[in-house]
């Protein structure tokens, strides 16, 4: 691999890491209530901790390798602990690791304010093993949802030694967003609503955090999309030119689709609610980025604008569905990631400059995209349901009603995010580190509780 390309891949992996911590943590944290912002942010930070380790142990091996099992996943023991990987091979692991982390972290928005931290920590490794790693293998590792022989696309339109029309998912419309969106939907229904959902106001507690988070997500997304280039089967010089051409297009498409999505979301708000909101702008950013993710290498910049505008408008309408159907997808993982992921994945069938219906290339690409999206949804739903029911039966998902009402930050982490009234009843008690063997440290109520008492 070329030096410049290697440097860009390191940068890209780092940028994707920035998306989860702190980008997504801030985006979600600001939208949650002030009594649960720390728990919300911890769900992202802990996803990084758990999945970073799991990915090195068996995540990479389950996703990529030479020992395919039924086109669904790779042998988790082939390169367990990265046995047999070395040197530049670590680069691919690093980049893909960050994708697994953010996909799992995305789910947390659907189940905000009410889930035991221990249940989340158990959920993370099992879910990526059953849902994320297999889907990554199927789509990017030459598995069932790629253009491989006997893959889903090949079964529909058989070609010469593989599918006639290969599915397109550049950076994770199915693997990341549809997957996380469905998982969020299944868990939100399984775990149930927050106490007082639909009755008490549950408005965002700090939209400046959310806007900072959305901005960081956008910036990090350049690593996510522009780093997802895969070298072709050609000479080094040709590949270098291919890389320059492709990354230029992908960067621009990622940006303009997102710009258009902001406009689309705000327009819907202006017409429907009378005012364009900052939360709408932040949400539109994410909706646009989600939609362009699978499509960023397949569309023209004008096509990207159309896709982004449609995604922004549709997601703005879709976030209301939870109130109609009565499930508490707290921070709209379904409305933004599932709907945005579907718009992007299926939109390719219309807008791809090569293979798209609007470019006179018929329906085949569209059919393949729809079928692949459906398969990913079913796989993710079943996998999530298995993990979700398992945890519900063995340890239970929810904190007690009292803890939920009082605030999950103090109940689960022993902290409160904001000390806005210092000096009101908070006293320092015996420090655990002071080494006293006689005095047990007393549980300290957070300062804000003292103020309310």
């Amino acid at each position: 691999m070329d030096y410049g390309l290697q440097a860009w891949m390191l940068m890209s992996a780092s940028l994707v890491l920035l998306m989860t911590t702190p980008g997504l943590a801030l985006f979600y944290g600001g939208m949650s209530r002030s009594k649960s912002v720390l728990n919300m942010m911890m769900m992202s930070f802990s996803a990084l901790g758990v999945i970073g380790v799991v990915y090195v142990l068996w995540g990479w091996s389950m996703s990529y390798g030479t020992e395919d099992v039924a086109l669904l996943f790779n042998n988790p023991f082939e390169t367990f602990g990265l046995d047999g990987i070395s040197g530049a091979g670590y680069m691919g692991v690093a980049f893909q690791l960050t994708f697994a982390v953010i996909t799992a972290a995305l789910i947390s928005g659907a189940i905000a304010d009410r889930v035991k931290f221990s249940a989340w920590m158990v959920f993370l490794p099992i879910w990526v093993t059953l849902s994320y790693f297999p889907l990554a293998h199927m789509v990017w590792g030459g598995g069932f949802l790629s253009g491989a022989e006997n893959g889903l696309a090949d079964l529909i339109f058989s070609g010469d030694g593989g599918a006639e029309v290969a599915p397109i998912d550049y950076a994770g419309g199915t693997v990341v967003h549809i997957n996380a969106g469905i998982a969020g939907l299944v868990l939100a229904i399984l775990i149930g609503k927050r106490l007082g959902f639909g009755k008490e106001p549950m408005k965002p507690h700090n939209l400046t955090l959310t806007m900072i988070g959305a901005g960081l997500l956008w910036f990090g997304w350049f690593g996510f999309n522009v780093g997802s280039w895969v070298p072709g089967d050609m000479s080094a010089e040709e590949n270098a030119q291919y890389w320059i051409d492709e990354t230029s297009l992908v960067w621009l498409n990622t940006t303009v689709a997102t710009c258009a999505a902001v406009l689309g979301w705000l327009l819907v708000e202006k017409i429907r609610d009378g005012k364009a909101t900052s939360l709408g702008a932040a949400s539109g950013i994410v909706a646009g980025l989600v939609a362009i993710t699978p499509a960023c290498g397949a569309l023209s910049p004008v096509g990207a604008i159309i896709l982004g505008a449609v995604a922004g408008a549709l997601c703005a309408l879709a976030v209301g569905l939870k109130h109609r159907f009565g499930y508490d997808d707290s921070l709209d993982v379904v409305g933004v990631h599932l709907v945005g992921g579907l718009v992007g994945t299926i939109g390719i069938g219309f807008l791809a400059t090569s293979g798209g219906l609007f470019y006179g290339d018929g329906l085949k690409q569209l059919v393949v995209q729809v079928v692949v999206a459906l398969f990913a949804m079913i796989w993710s739903a079943v996998a999530t349901l298995i993990v979700g029911l398992l945890i519900k039966a063995v340890m239970g998902w929810r904190v007690s009603e009292e803890d939920e009402v009082e605030g999950i930050d103090f109940a689960e982490h022993g902290e409160s995010a904001y000390d806005l009234t210092p000096g009101t009843g908070a006293r320092r008690t015996q420090s655990v580190l002071a080494g006293s063997t006689t005095a047990e440290p007393k549980p300290t109520a957070p300062a804000s509780e003292g103020a309310n008492a």
């Binding site: 106001p201 965002p204 708000e269 609610d273 005012k275 909101t277 709408g280 703005a316």
Partner: protein, 112 residues
């Protein structure tokens, strides 16, 4: 002595303070409070979901004054805090038994 308590619109607070200072009021206690009266709250929309926000932010001013000044002080507050629109707030007066200045131990009128 009387305790004058006024709950007013936050953007009127500077005007009220200035007018009271001009009149000769030397101190007061001010807090940011929230509440609602007949106007109720307002609505906010987040991702299409409409919330009734019952509590509206207000400023509460508390001043202990000499009996002779009560009418004037109340008059000044009402006059300067008034916009004529709903939600302007309220002023009420309660009797105060005794006042002590912590620094000197001065009592009642001498402590004001």
């Amino acid at each position: 002595m009387k305790l004058v308590t006024a709950v007013i619109k936050p953007h009127k607070w500077e005007d009220v303070r200035e007018a009271l200072e001009t009149f000769g009021v030397t101190g007061m206690t001010v807090s940011e409070v929230s509440g609602y009266g007949r106007q109720k709250g307002h609505t906010e929309v987040y991702r299409g979901a409409e919330y009734d926000i019952a509590l509206v932010p207000k400023i509460r001013i508390e001043i202990v004054v000499d009996d002779a000044d009560v009418e004037d002080v109340v008059g000044i507050v009402v006059k300067t805090a008034q916009t004529g629109r709903i939600g302007d707030g309220k002023v009420w007066v309660t009797p105060v038994e005794t006042v002590i200045r912590v620094r000197t131990g001065d009592k009642d009128e001498a402590a004001l």
